[in-house]
């Protein structure tokens, strides 16, 4: 019965309002995929403020990209406490990626304490992480510009060279930390995202 309802509504998506449609589809399983493809973003947004995207060339593992995007959204305030994260099926359908990858990302975020699952309802944002305040950010930035960047330029490195060197150093820094402590990824991720904001 539910299935046939889904079929009918799915066939005429425009004739049906957002929320009931979402509920019908949420219950209806397999073909919800095809409808999210055709209905458009409005319903998705009503469900979760977050839309994932992937950069296949970044070299960052897919699950980490998802983790970063959630962290980033929380940090920037797109996602606040109590917001719903996209459901597994929706992420899988829109990005066409392995469901295990999404599960892994969500598990990771759960371990970080950022999100939590409510049985039967979905996954929700629990708390905002500590953000680096603007003053600290500015201070860090100033140290980078006045100190290291100036020296690097003086040494003759061009912009690409500087970027490459920074990337390489950052990677070594991360690798070093990974081998020392496995659970330090949270702080590192915050640091990088904060850098991006500044």
């Amino acid at each position: 019965m539910c299935r046939s309802a889904g079929v009918i509504k799915g066939s005429y998506p425009r004739a049906v309002g957002g929320a009931p449609l979402v509920d019908a589809l949420a219950f209806c399983g397999p073909w919800r995929y095809s409808f999210t493809m055709t209905i458009g973003k409005r319903d998705d947004e009503a469900r979760s403020p977050l839309i994932f995207r992937l950069d296949p060339r970044s070299g960052v593992p897919t699950y980490l990209q998802l983790v970063h995007q959630v962290e980033h959204a929380i940090r920037l305030g797109y996602l606040v406490q109590g917001d719903r994260l996209p459901r597994l099926k929706d992420v899988v359908a829109s990005l066409s990626i392995n469901p295990n990858t999404v599960q892994k990302a969500y598990r990771h975020l759960e371990q970080e304490g950022l999100i939590g699952g409510r049985p039967g309802q979905g996954t929700f944002v629990l708390a905002s992480p500590e953000t680096v305040d603007l003053a600290t950010l500015n201070a860090l930035r100033k140290r980078l510009v006045d100190g290291w960047l100036r020296d690097a330029t003086a040494a003759g490195l061009d912009d690409d060279g500087i970027a490459a060197l920074f990337q390489s150093a950052l990677r070594d820094f991360r690798e070093g930390r990974k081998s020392r402590a496995a659970s330090s990824r949270d702080g590192r991720a915050s640091g990088r995202s904060a850098g991006g904001v500044a």
């Binding site: 299935r3 046939s4 889904g6 079929v7 799915g10 066939s11 399983g29 397999p30 073909w31 919800r32 995929y33 095809s34 409808f35 493809m37 055709t38 992937l54 296949p56 070299g59 897919t62 597994l88 099926k89 899988v92 359908a93 829109s94 990005l95 066409s96 990626i97 392995n98 469901p99 295990n100 990858t101 999404v102 390489s168 690798e175 081998s179």
Partner: protein, 304 residues
């Protein structure tokens, strides 16, 4: 439970072995990329699992220990063969009828909803559909059986980018919702990189790499260092592939335990693409294959 298990599987056509010494066990719930060059034996392996080809030697078991080709196995698996063979003289509707009547379990509402969503004209002859539509139809007929294990032989070969995305998204949704285990075969690994979490790499009928992609990647490292130290460093490592430049050399090495970085060398994680390419370049390489084969593969063999 393993969805697909082979032990010592070999298939001979005339004088040539299409598949030989194939031992693997794919656990439940995986999205498996069955990769390899053309003619590596991917299709033969899949056909063996479905029961379309008889093993010359060895055994194949599905979903626990159901024999390949048995009705019990066929009720729980679905297979879309290469180029999505369908009855071209039938209309789409009739094709659905044929599939529905060849199976006790067939989800007609699912199939018709899918076909409607895909805008496939149900009255048109199958032979008149585009290649992409035929592939979508074949996939729909397979998914409407709600299998435990879905095996797709080169499913993306005839699809345009949008259709590729849609096909993958649908299969992944089924995997998320129903826990379907999936085996994709493809000779383009990058196609499967985002979806697969398990790799079976074949070359010349033999298995080269089998295992969770994460583990495989973790067992390989790219070392970048001075060319004149290459031999000294390579001596103690299993070098899968070496690429030499004027003064630098890049070694792709395999290791069971984390390795110590030689002084003056840079360490990097390989991408799946890079790794697969290195193995495909040398079909004689066997990295990690079969549940027991890993230990048996002497490290020295690889280091040549």
């Amino acid at each position: 439970m393993n969805v697909l298990e082979t032990f010592g599987l070999g298939v001979r056509y005339g004088q040539t072995w299409a598949v030989s010494d194939c031992t693997l066990a794919i656990p439940e719930g995986r999205i498996v990329a069955l990769a390899g060059s053309n003619g590596a034996g991917k299709t033969t392996l899949l056909h063996c699992a479905v029961g379309l080809t008889e093993a010359t030697c060895g055994t194949v078991g599905l979903l626990g220990d159901l024999p390949a080709g048995s009705l019990d196995a066929l009720e729980r698996i679905a297979f879309v063969a290469q180029d999505a063979p369908l009855y071209r003289h039938l209309s789409v509707n009739e094709m659905v009828e044929v599939a529905a009547n060849l199976n006790r379990r067939f989800d007609r509402p699912f199939a018709s909803a899918r076909l409607r969503a895909l805008d496939i004209p149900v009255k048109r002859r199958v032979g008149k559909l585009s290649g992409g539509q035929q592939a979508q139809l074949a996939l729909t007929l397979a998914l409407a059986r709600h299998p435990h294990l879905l095996m797709l032989d080169e499913p993306l070969a005839r699809l345009d980018p949008v259709a590729r995305h849609d096909v993958m998204a649908l299969v992944m949704t089924m995997a998320a919702e129903e826990g379907v285990s999936v085996v994709f075969s493809s000779h383009v690994v990058s196609e499967l990189e985002r979806v697969a979490d398990y790799l079976v790499l074949m070359a010349q009928g033999r298995l080269q790499l089998v295992g969770p992609i994460e583990d495989i990647l973790a067992e390989h490292t790219v070392l970048n260092g001075p060319a004149d130290e290459a031999e000294r460093v390579g001596e103690h490592l299993c070098v899968v592939h070496a690429e030499k430049a004027a003064r630098r050399v890049q070694l792709l090495v395999r290791h069971d335990r984390p390795i110590e970085t030689p002084i003056g060398w840079e360490v990097d994680a390989p991408s799946l693409d890079e790794l697969v390419l290195a193995y495909l370049r040398d079909p004689s390489l066997v990295g990690r294959s079969g549940p027991v084969a890993v230990a048996a593969t002497a490290a020295g063999e690889l280091a040549q």
